[in-house]
Amino acid sequence: MTPHDDQPPSRTGFFRTWRRLYGAVLVVAALTCGFLFLFSRAFAP
């Protein structure tokens, strides 16, 4: 493995570590599911 492979997702800003980006993916997924839940309930029969 070369140092090149260990690059962070971003050099500056919030996503400086992979852990933060992974967290963001999971948070966005959870929010999407939350939206689907509300959508489902709003138009429930």
């Binding site: 492979d5 992979w18 992974y22 997924a29 599911c33 489902s40 138009f43 029969p45």
Partner: protein, 568 residues
């Protein structure tokens, strides 16, 4: 199909041929040919990963499913973002650092050569004929709805994809797939826009959603804990997680995409991009289908969406079908009236009364349609449904020239992107996991050019197999389906082998070969046993979890302390 549509289709083929030619030149060895010299940026890999997963039936069938059954299907993707994150810090770095061509090559280093051969063979077996299905299924639908010749459609999809995959190699395939996915996304948005545009003027989008919701078509979340149900949050999170881990982590057609990354960072980002975007994209596709249901409250739909089967059933069972058709027409008129009253309602009380009438009429309508489908199935002598014909019928009968061509191109792009990925993955596994490996073992190593030629021949061979099988699918149908079904049993056990290799490299990995066989037996048992007992089995989404768990457990138990590990 009008001239403008054919021009759009011709432009599409011209575009991908040009991209394929420009990006596919200069292949010198198999790292070029199979892995695009590991030079791809994340966005191209991400779109390519999506394009590989999105087959034509995903596009056509998913909208149809939302029309018929609602949006519950989206739940099977709930495990996908979690799977992407898990893969990013487990298998992706392992593959990338090992500089392998195939996922199975990595297994040899940890689990021995027999395990590599077994998993690569299972992949070839599982994927070989699924290529035929991904060519055949959309071809039949397109040929019926767009009045194209089925043989011509099969040859067009299979032949064109085979030729430019063989000529251009991985770089060409990936860049073509990037554009194909953009076309698919544009097609999806066009479809949603077209359906909303087609709704009556007096009906707001909110009212349209309320009508769809009244029949349960917008139910996207179910917390039912019953493991026999496929479309629940729990099955999606747990079963879907293992399905996605198996598919994205162990299936060469996906692994090969992110092995082309110019760095580990790019490979990880491509998968995370997929984790971000997949559920929203599926939501838009399913919403299109649900709104299509609303559209057909006001525009009379055919009793069966497949015109060929419609005519055949009318001729074969005139009385039963005629009676169902009459009830269908009456119920439609009643339902349309109630839907219009709902749209025109001056106050909530009127809207509620109209909604109640609408639901009664819809139940009668659905019953008449079910009877018509049952009569068609009886006439055909096999179970049949027109789910895959709903969306193409809308496109062909309702949309203007040019847009029809664009949607057709999106469906063709979805079909071809899946075929390309499968062919290049099949050829890579054949050449790297078998041909090159055994040739070099026998001391007959050859130049990169030789293996590049072998790779091209591999793609042409697998393309011919898939296209040929698709042409004879009518006769081979049940056999191909059986192979595909059995092929899906292997995903979980192969994932189990990777878990053994990555998490138990010292002991469990050495027992991976018998453990994979035990995993396959476990999945087979989970599928067959309930049927033998005449009860409902658990959802197929759990099969990957069962297969992976059985494999890991067997591998660890066989390697328990006191037993001398034997290199398998």
């Amino acid at each position: 199909m009008q001239t403008l549509d054919w021009i759009v289709v011709a432009l599409y083929f011209g575009l991908i041929a040009t991209i394929g030619y420009l990006t596919g030149r200069g292949n010198r060895g198999i790292e070029d040919y199979f892995l695009a010299r590991r030079s791809m940026p994340w966005y191209a890999m991400g779109l390519s990963v999506m394009a590989t997963q999105a087959s034509a039936i995903t596009l056509v069938g998913t909208t149809g499913q939302a029309y018929v059954d609602g949006m519950r299907f989206i739940q099977i993707y709930f495990g996908l973002p979690i799977a992407m994150v898990i893969l990013c810090f487990t298998l992706v770095p392992l593959f990338y650092r090992a500089r392998v061509f195939t996922a199975y090559e990595y297994l040899e280093r940890r689990c021995g050569p027999r395990t590599r051969s077994l998993t690569a063979l299972l992949f070839l077996f599982g994927r070989a004929l699924s290529g035929a299905v991904v060519i055949y299924a959309p071809s039949v639908v397109l040929s019926v709805v767009f009045s194209l010749d089925a043989t011509l459609t099969i040859l067009l999809i299979g032949g064109f994809a085979t030729v430019y995959t063989a000529l251009g190699g991985m770089r060409a395939v990936m860049w073509v797939e990037t554009w194909q996915m953009l076309i698919i996304l544009a097609g999806i948005l066009f479809c949603l826009g077209s359906v909303i545009w087609g709704l009556p003027d007096q009906l707001s989008l909110g009212e349209a959603l309320r009508l769809a919701g009244a029949t349960g078509r917008l139910e996207t979340i179910s917390f039912d804990p019953d493991p026999r149900l496929t479309y629940t949050v729990w099955t999606g999170l747990l079963g879907g997680l293992f399905l996605m881990l198996s598919y994205f982590g162990c299936d060469q057609s996906q692994v090969q995409r992110y092995l082309t990354g110019r760095s580990l960072r790019e490979s990880r980002l491509s998968l995370l991009f997929n984790g971000f975007a997949k559920i929203p994209i599926q939501f838009v596709i399913l919403l299109t289908g649900a709104l299509l249901f609303v559209f057909y409250q006001f525009e009379k739909p055919p009793v069966l969406f497949d015109p060929v089967t419609l005519e055949e059933t009318r001729a074969a069972r005139p009385e039963a079908f005629g009676e169902a058709e009459s009830r269908h027409d009456l119920a439609f008129a009643e339902r349309r009236g109630a839907a219009l009253d709902f749209a025109d309602a001056a106050n909530p009380a009127e809207a509620e009364a109209a909604e109640a009438r609408f639901l009664v009429a819809d139940a009668a309508f659905q019953e008449a349609r079910s009877d018509a489908i049952r009569t068609a199935s009886e006439a055909k002598g096999e179970p049949w449904t027109d789910t895959n014909h709903v969306f193409p019928t809308f496109v062909f009968t309702q949309l203007p020239a040019g847009v029809v061509g664009l949607i057709l191109v999106a469906v063709l792009a979805a079909a071809m992107s899946t075929v390309e990925s499968e062919l290049s993955a099949l050829s890579t596994a054949s050449v790297v996991d078998f041909y090159r490996r055994f040739r070099e073992k026998a001391g007959r190593g050859a130049s990169g050019k030789h293996y590049l030629r072998a790779g091209r021949i591999g793609i042409l061979f697998w393309g011919a197999v898939a296209t040929g099988a698709a042409l004879y699918m009518g006769r081979l149908g049940s056999a191909v389906e059986a192979v595909n079904r059995v092929g899906s049993f292997f995903y979980g056990p192969i994932l189990g082998a990777f878990v053994l290799a990555a998490a138990f490299p010292a002991r469990g990995a050495r027992r991976a070969f018998p453990a994979v066989l035990a995993g396959i037996a476990a999945v087979w048992g989970a599928d067959l046993l309930p049927r033998a007992l005449g009860v409902d089995g658990i959802s197929y989404l759990y099969y990957n979890l069962i297969g992976a768990a059985a494999t890991v457990l067997t591998g660890v138990l066989l390697a328990r302390p006191g037993r001398k590990p034997r290199h398998s």
